[in-house]
Symmetry: C2
Subunit: 459 residues, 2 copies
C-alpha cells in the first residue's frame, strides 16, 4: 500500500543530543597548528581575544571528546531541532533504483539552513561574556540571517556587511536579516577605514567577501564590547554543527538502518563536517564502514584541484595562516549560483581528514546539480538551495549506478537548506542560461595557478 | 530550567488522521443552496461536470460525517504532514502574558502554506478520472505553486494564469511554479478569447484575478481532458483542509490541553475552516467550549462590513451564485500585502456559520499585523506570511488582555504559511511605507456601497 511508506524519521525534543562531538579527540593524527603570519609560530588564545570570547577560543583548541550544549542554547535549538531525517521514497521511485536514499534536512531552521546551529551558541557565548554587539560579513546572506536571528535571542546587536553586488541584486536576504533585527550595510561602506580606502580607489566597487570581512573585523577590533563571528571553516563552528550527525545516527538506529555512503557538499566545510564527524567516530571505532564523499563545485574545486598549504582565510590577508586545501586566497571563483560554496579554501579539519584518506571528493558542474535539484523538488516537494544540489547530484549518480548493479546501497545525504530565496538561480537553469565552469576550462586553471603563486612565505 | 520547555508537539505519520471531517453533517441548520444565475434554481452535478471530476462534485454536496482520504493522497501528505503544533514559549515570555499560546504551522508544506492540503486530493481525483491537465488562476502565487506541486505527483499538466501585475513584480512565485513543472502565463494572455478581448481594449492591462479565472475556466471548458481547480471558498476545499484541525485536536490531547480561543485569518476561508470545523464538532458535542474568532483585513472586511447575500464568486460573473458575506463581486480591495485575503466574498459555509452565531469576526489594519509578524519572527524564528499575521495580531491582543486580567487563557492560532516569498512586504513595513486602509476610510465605504449595488437580481 502506498500509504504504508514512512517518509520521515523524527526525534522528540527529549531525544535531542545534549553534547557536541569534538572530532579532534579522535583524529588518528593531529592536524597542523594555525600560525601567526608575522612570527610563523602557532597562535595562542590571546591572539584571538580581541575578536572572540574565551569560551569559543577554548572550543577552537579543545581536546575532550564531547562539549555540553548549554541549556540556553538547547532551548533555542528546540525551536526547530531535532531536524527531520527523510527517506526519499518518491525520488527512489522516479530513479527506479534499489538504493535506499535518506536526507537530513536542515531547511527547517529560522534561517533556512544549518547556519543557526553555530550562530546560536556563538551569540550565547558572546552575550555570556558581556559582549553587546556582533559584526560579521555575508555574501548571499545565509550566515547574516542566522546570526541576526541568534543575536535577537540574547539581546545582542547584529551588524552585517553584505557584499554590495548581493545587497543590490538579492534584497530578500537583506530584508530577512532586518526582520530579525539586524543592521545591514552594503560593503564597501564609508563606515570603516577599509571601506573608505576601497571606495576612494573605486567609488563604484561591487565589493567582495574579503572586503566585507575586513570591515566587520575592523569594527569588532576597535570596540571591547563588540566581537566578530565567523560562519564556517573554524573548529568551533564545525563542533557546533555535529548535532546534525549525532541526530542522524539516532534516527538511523531507530529504523535499524546502516549507511554505506555519506554525501555532502563542501564550501567552508561546516555542513559537511557537522554530518560526517560523528559517523567518522563510529567508523574509527569499528561500528560501521561508510564511504564519506565531499562534493564541491567544478568552478571552485579546492579539495580536488587545490594545493594543501598554509594560506590566509580571507582575501586581503588579515587572518592567521591555516594549513588547508586552497585555490589561493586571491582566487575569485566564477559567479556560480551556489554562493555558499564559492570559497577559495577548505576547513583545516576537513582538509586534514582528506589528506589522511578519511574522505573522498568529487567536483560537479552546476547544470548537473540544478537538474538534480529540479528532480528532487518535483518528487520530494522541497526546492533545495543550490549548495546541497551538489550533494544531490552525486547521490543520484550513485543511485543510478545501483540501478545498473542491482546493489541496495544505503545513501545518506545532507540537505543543508531550502532554496526559497535562491529561486532566480532556478529561473536561470530552467531558461537555459546557466553557464558551467569546470577544471577542463583553461581560464579556471590559469586563475588558480596565478592565485597559488601568491601563497604566503612564512617568516 | 530553560531546556525543559517543550516547543513542539509532534505526531508520527502513523498518527495522522485518515479521514476528512465534513462539517455539513453537523451544522445545526443547513446552508442555503448554490443557485444557477440563469434559472435561479439550485445547481446540480451536471452543471459542474465540465470543470470538476465527479468525486469532487459529490464531496461538494456530501452529507456523511467523514470522507476517507485515499491512500495515494496520504502518501503525498506524509512528505510534510502531520504538521507541527508549537507552544510559543518565547513569544509568551516577550509579551509577559500568563496566556498559553499555541500555533499550528502549515508552512512546512512544499508550497509553504496550507494550500497543498487540497491541491493534492484535487489533482488525485482529476487524475483518477482520466483528466490530463488542470488549469487555474493565481494572484500572488501560493495556490498556483501548490497545484503545480500536486500535478507533478500524479503526472498531470498544470497551466496557471497569473495576474500580470504579480507576474511582473513578484517573479519568485512564478519560478517556483515552473520548478515544480507548471506552466505560467501572465493574464490577460493572447491564448484565450477572454484575454484577447481584454487586451484589445487595453493592451497594457495589468490584469485581475477575475480575468485570470475567466481564462483558466475558458481553457478547461473547451477540452474534455482538461479541468479547472479552485483553491478556496468551495465546500470540498474546506473539507480537505480539516486535516489541520483533526491533527491539532490529537496534538492538544497528547499534552492534556483544552483551548479557550481559536484565532485564524480569513480570505476565502479555507485555512480558517480547516482548523475550526473539527473544533466546532467538539463544541456542538459538548466536549469543549472554545470561542472561534476570524480575523480579516480592515481593507477587505467581508464578514464585519459585508452583506449576506447571493453573489458571484468571480468578478466577471461566470460562477454560480453563492449566498455569502460579500463586499460585491466587482469590489477591488486596496493593494494590501496579504494578497491571499484580498477576496470580495467569504466561503458560503463560513458565512452561514457566522450568520448562525458559531463564530465571531474582527478586522485588523495591516500595520498592526506586520508589527505582530516581526515580533513573532524575532521570538519564534519563523517569518510569517502576511495573511496569518492578521491572526497573530489578534492573538497578541488577547494575550495582552490576559496580562492585564491575569487569566491563563489557552489560545490556538493558525500559522498558515511562511513569508519567505513575501519579504518585500516586510521591507515596506520596516521602512515605514505601509499604508493602512480601513473601514473608517470614506473611500473604502463608498467603494463597497458601489459594488453592493451590482449584486445580481435572481430570475
Amino acid at each position: 500500500m502506498a500509504d504504508s511508506l514512512q517518509h520521515k524519521i523524527l526525534l522528540s525534543e527529549d531525544e535531542m543530543p545534549t553534547r557536541w562531538y569534538n572530532v579532534l579527540h579522535d583524529v588518528p593524527t593531529p592536524p597542523p597548528p594555525v600560525l601567526h603570519p608575522g612570527t610563523g609560530q602557532p597562535v595562542g588564545p590571546d591572539d584571538l581575544s580581541s575578536l572572540f570570547p574565551m569560551d569559543l577560543i577554548l572550543q577552537e583548541v579543545a581536546t575532550e571528546q564531547y562539549v555540553d550544549i548549554p541549556a540556553e542554547v538547547l532551548d533555542v535549538y528546540k525551536l526547530w531541532r531535532p531536524s527531520p531525517l527523510y527517506r526519499a521514497h518518491r525520488l527512489e521511485k522516479a530513479l527506479g533504483t534499489p538504493a535506499r536514499i535518506y536526507y537530513k534536512y536542515e531547511g527547517v531552521s529560522p534561517a533556512g539552513s544549518h547556519k543557526p546551529n553555530t550562530a546560536v551558541p556563538q551569540a550565547f557565548y558572546n552575550a555570556k561574556a558581556g559582549i553587546k554587539k556582533l559584526t560579521t560579513e555575508t555574501g548571499a546572506g545565509q550566515w547574516g540571517t542566522a546570526l541576526a536571528f541568534a543575536c535577537a535571542q540574547y539581546d545582542l546587536e547584529c551588524e552585517v556587511w553584505q557584499v554590495r553586488a548581493s545587497y543590490d541584486q538579492k534584497p530578500y536576504r537583506r530584508i530577512m536579516i532586518e526582520t530579525f533585527g539586524g543592521t545591514v550595510h552594503p560593503s564597501p561602506s564609508d563606515l570603516t577605514e577599509a571601506g573608505r580606502t576601497i571606495l576612494a580607489q573605486d567609488p563604484g566597487s561591487s565589493g567582495s567577501l574579503g572586503i566585507a570581512i575586513s570591515e566587520a573585523v575592523e569594527v569588532a577590533a576597535q570596540d571591547p564590547a563588540t566581537n566578530y563571528a565567523l560562519g564556517s571553516v573554524l573548529n568551533h563552528v564545525l563542533l557546533h554543527q555535529t548535532i546534525i550527525g549525532e541526530e542522524a545516527l539516532l534516527q538511523l538506529a531507530k529504523i535499524g538502518e546502516r549507511v554505506d555512503l555519506l554525501v555532502g557538499c563542501t564550501g567552508g566545510g561546516s555542513n559537511f563536517g557537522g554530518l560526517m564527524f560523528p559517523f567518522l567516530r563510529e567508523k574509527w571505532a569499528g561500528r560501521m564502514y561508510p564511504v564519506v564523499r565531499a562534493v564541491e563545485p567544478a568552478a571552485c574545486p579546492s579539495l580536488t584541484q587545490g594545493t594543501y598549504a598554509y594560506d590566509f582565510g580571507d582575501t586581503i590577508g588579515l587572518t592567521p595562516l591555516m594549513k588547508m586545501h586552497t585555490l589561493g586566497h586571491d582566487f575569485v571563483p566564477d559567479p556560480i549560483h551556489a554562493g555558499g560554496l564559492r570559497y577559495h579554501g577548505m576547513s583545516p579539519l576537513i582538509s586534514h581528514l582528506y589528506e589522511e584518506g578519511h574522505l573522498e571528493a568529487v567536483a560537479k558542474p552546476q547544470s548537473e546539480c540544478f537538474a538534480a535539484g529540479v528532480l528532487f523538488a518535483r518528487t520530494e516537494g522541497i526546492v533545495p538551495a543550490p549548495e546541497p544540489t551538489h550533494a544531490l547530484a552525486a547521490t543520484i549518480e550513485e543511485a543510478l549506478h545501483c540501478k545498473e548493479s542491482g546493489e541496495e546501497k544505503v545513501i545518506l545525504t545532507a540537505l543543508c537548506g531550502h532554496g526559497h530565496l535562491d529561486l532566480p538561480a532556478y529561473d536561470a537553469y530552467l531558461s537555459g542560461s546557466i553557464v558551467d565552469h569546470g577544471w577542463e576550462d583553461a581560464d579556471l586553471q590559469a586563475a588558480v595557478r596565478a592565485a597559488l603563486e601568491n601563497l604566503p612565505t612564512l617568516v
